[in-house]
């Protein structure tokens, strides 16, 4: 039922514009992979290539051992959920969901009682029983989203492709549907690729995250991998806030204005570098080696946490630090902060 998807060095051009450059990605059977990237990075293009709605200029896509170029759209058995759902508005919800089954060649087509039964089962699976007679225009955004998913699941797809499945919904419903999709995936076990430009969504939902930037795959890895060990500055900045410190690396130590700020660097990358530090990887310390002196200039609340902004001599931007305890410094207080974790990228 579910298959592995192998993407081998795909290139895709639209006229002069290079939308995808040498993209390769292996997806395990039953895996849930997020394609993450800013707008225009080629996420939809890659998804459409997997689906066969777009032809690659170079490279190929395999389902299991089968080259998809040998498969017709029907034989690919793709469950595709479009960015704006693309429900058939002249059909009821039930007819929408049954469309794929009714499109099968006569020999493989289930009889109408069986189709009805499956539609019911799918509506229950997506938690929308009783809505079969409605038209898409009579549904809320979240309901349309789930109907689109039921319609895609009806053909018993080998691979499920979701293009910004929650893109058009408000923040609250997005969160609910996230948990629901995760749950659905663990029950049905389809190999799933979903597109999103919301890094939080990608990190929370996916088994692995693939980050696209200007048509290139910057990094592929588990959420922990990509978050804690970003491969490029772009990935680091795209996945969450980070302080950027211009440092010099000498030996295993990083120096900010001749002051050592971080030690134990394993990479042998002496020279100028940018040190990326997430706000929660900074902490207040009383004193000691590798600590950075500064002045608290602002305190803000960011959701559950409180954030201090600290001016440090030699830095144009203030350092952002997430407070882990209730004890907060006062504005204007002189403090020392220490980096607990950071990623260094050499700069030219």
């Amino acid at each position: 039922m579910t298959v592995a998807v192998t993407i081998e060095s795909i290139d895709k051009r639209f006229l002069a514009f290079q939308a995808l450059r040498n993209v390769s990605l292996d997806i395990q059977p039953g895996e849930l992979v997020a394609l993450l990237g800013p707008s225009g990075s080629g996420k939809t293009t890659l998804l459409r290539l997997i689906a066969g709605l777009e032809q690659a200029d170079a490279g190929r896509v395999l389902f299991g051992d089968t080259d998809t170029r040998d498969l017709s759209l029907r034989d690919r058995r793709i469950g595709f959920v479009f960015q704006h759902y693309a429900l058939f508005k002249t059909m009821t919800v039930a007819d929408n969901i049954a469309f794929g089954l009714r499109s099968r060649p006569r020999a493989e087509r289930p009889d109408s009682a069986e189709i009805k039964r499956r539609v019911q089962a799918l509506l229950e699976l997506v938690q929308l029983p009783g809505l079969e007679r409605r038209y898409p225009s009579q549904l809320s955004g979240g309901q349309r989203q789930r109907v689109a998913l039921a319609r895609a699941l009806a053909i018993e797809p080998q691979v499920l492709l979701l293009d910004e499945p929650f893109g058009a919904l408000d923040a609250r419903i997005r969160k609910d549907l996230r948990a629901w999709l995760r749950d659905l995936h663990s029950r049905t076990g389809h190999t799933t690729v979903f597109v999103t430009h919301d890094q939080e969504e990608a990190l929370e939902l996916a088994d692995r995250v693939a980050i696209l930037h200007e048509g290139k795959l910057e990094q592929v890895g588990t959420p922990d991998d990509v978050y804690d060990h970003p491969a490029t500055p772009f990935v680091c900045e795209f996945l969450g806030e980070a302080n950027r410190l211009p440092v010099r690396i000498v030996g295993s130590q990083a120096f900010l204005d001749d002051r050592p700020v971080l030690g134990g660097l394993s990479q042998n990358q002496s020279g100028a570098a940018a040190l990326y530090v997430r706000p929660h990887h900074l902490k207040f310390v009383d004193d000691g080696p590798l600590s950075i002196p500064g002045v608290v200039e602002e305190l803000r609340r960011t959701g559950p946490l409180r954030r201090a902004e600290i001016a440090v001599s030699g830095l144009t931007k203030r350092l952002a630090l997430d407070l882990t305890s209730q004890v907060a410094p006062a504005i204007g207080e002189r403090v020392r902060v220490k980096i607990t974790h950071a990623t260094a990228f050499a700069t030219a």
Binding site: A51, G100, A154
Partner: protein, 302 residues
């Protein structure tokens, strides 16, 4: 965008502001005098130029009483004109529907070289005088035309015969269906079709169960207008017909002949049938808009 594709809707909605409460008017910022003047002018125009002629047609048609009317429209030449008109429309309209849908489909769903040229060409029949299009066919297929000798040698008659009438009618009425469909299909885009294809539907099934239902109202409008014009066309048809009574005379031509022979009551009797057709077309359109207005608006909106 729906406004641009739906001029009729605006026309139907136009009288409504007059019935709106005073407060609504001040929002628009026109003084009541200007508004009254505008309404009077347009009403007077409608009465004088549109309604009066229509009434005249029916009054004149009845000038000789019911039996005179019946005689005029059951007389053999009239019957054959009616039959010919229906036949021409029965060939030209389906042809234009098929070709119009194909052209609209190509323009709306594909990118190709010469697309803009094709769009302009579709409008050509609207910008060329029908008489000229008729003349072009005579020039091509007439006895003295470029293909005349070849056609005569093979015993094919086009000018002064049914094929000529059909060709001229097709040319003149071609834009109606395509122009109605193109903006609508473009607005809808092709994601619905792509969704159907990924669900395993064959191209035929996609066309008949997705594409066509999505544009059925525009298509119906187009057919309605195309048909009205096909039956009423005079200029182009007059040139290629030769006006052989009982053979190549369509209803509009028959009306003119009768009128020129000072048989005005008979002329108006036949004309009243054409006017009746126009009224039925209007009524159907109004009925559609009233009954399915929401569906039409919804399907056009997106």
């Amino acid at each position: 965008m729906s406004d641009a594709t739906l001029p009729r809707h605006d026309a139907a909605a136009a009288p409504a502001p007059a019935a709106k409460p005073q407060s609504a008017r001040s929002v628009v910022g026109e003084s009541p005098i200007i508004q009254a003047a505008l309404i009077t002018v347009s009403l007077a125009f409608l009465l004088l130029f549109l309604l009066l002629p229509l009434i005249t047609v029916f009054v004149e048609a009845g000038a000789r009483g019911w039996s005179g009317y019946r005689e005029a429209i059951t007389e053999p030449d009239a019957v054959s004109a009616i039959r010919l008109t229906l036949l021409v429309a029965a060939i030209a309209v389906p042809f234009n529907v098929v070709v119009g849908v194909a052209a609209a489909w190509a323009i709306a769903k594909f990118e190709f070289r010469g697309k803009n040229l094709l769009i302009s060409l579709i409008d050509l029949p609207f910008s060329v005088s029908p008489v000229i299009s008729g003349l072009v066919y005579v020039l091509l297929f007439g006895a003295q035309g470029y293909l005349g000798p070849f056609l005569r040698a093979n015993g094919i008659e086009i000018i002064f015969a049914l094929p000529g009438l059909v060709l001229a009618t097709i040319f003149v009425t071609f834009p109606f269906v395509a122009r109605e469909l193109i903006p609508h299909m473009q607005a809808i885009g092709s994601t619905d079709e792509e969704a159907a294809l990924t669900l395993g539907a064959s191209p035929w099934r996609v066309f008949f169960s997705i594409t066509l239902p999505n544009v059925k109202w525009s298509l119906f409008y187009g057919v309605l207008l195309c048909n009205a014009r096909a039956m009423g066309e005079f200029g182009a048809v007059a040139v290629v017909s030769g006006k052989i009574r009982g053979l190549t005379n369509t209803m509009p031509l028959h009306v003119e002949i009768l009128y020129n022979e000072y048989m005005s009551a008979a002329a108006f009797a036949v004309a009243s049938l054409l006017a009746g057709l126009a009224l039925v077309t209007l009524a159907l359109k109004a009925l559609l808009e009233w009954r399915y207005g929401d569906a039409i608006a919804a399907s056009r909106r997106h």
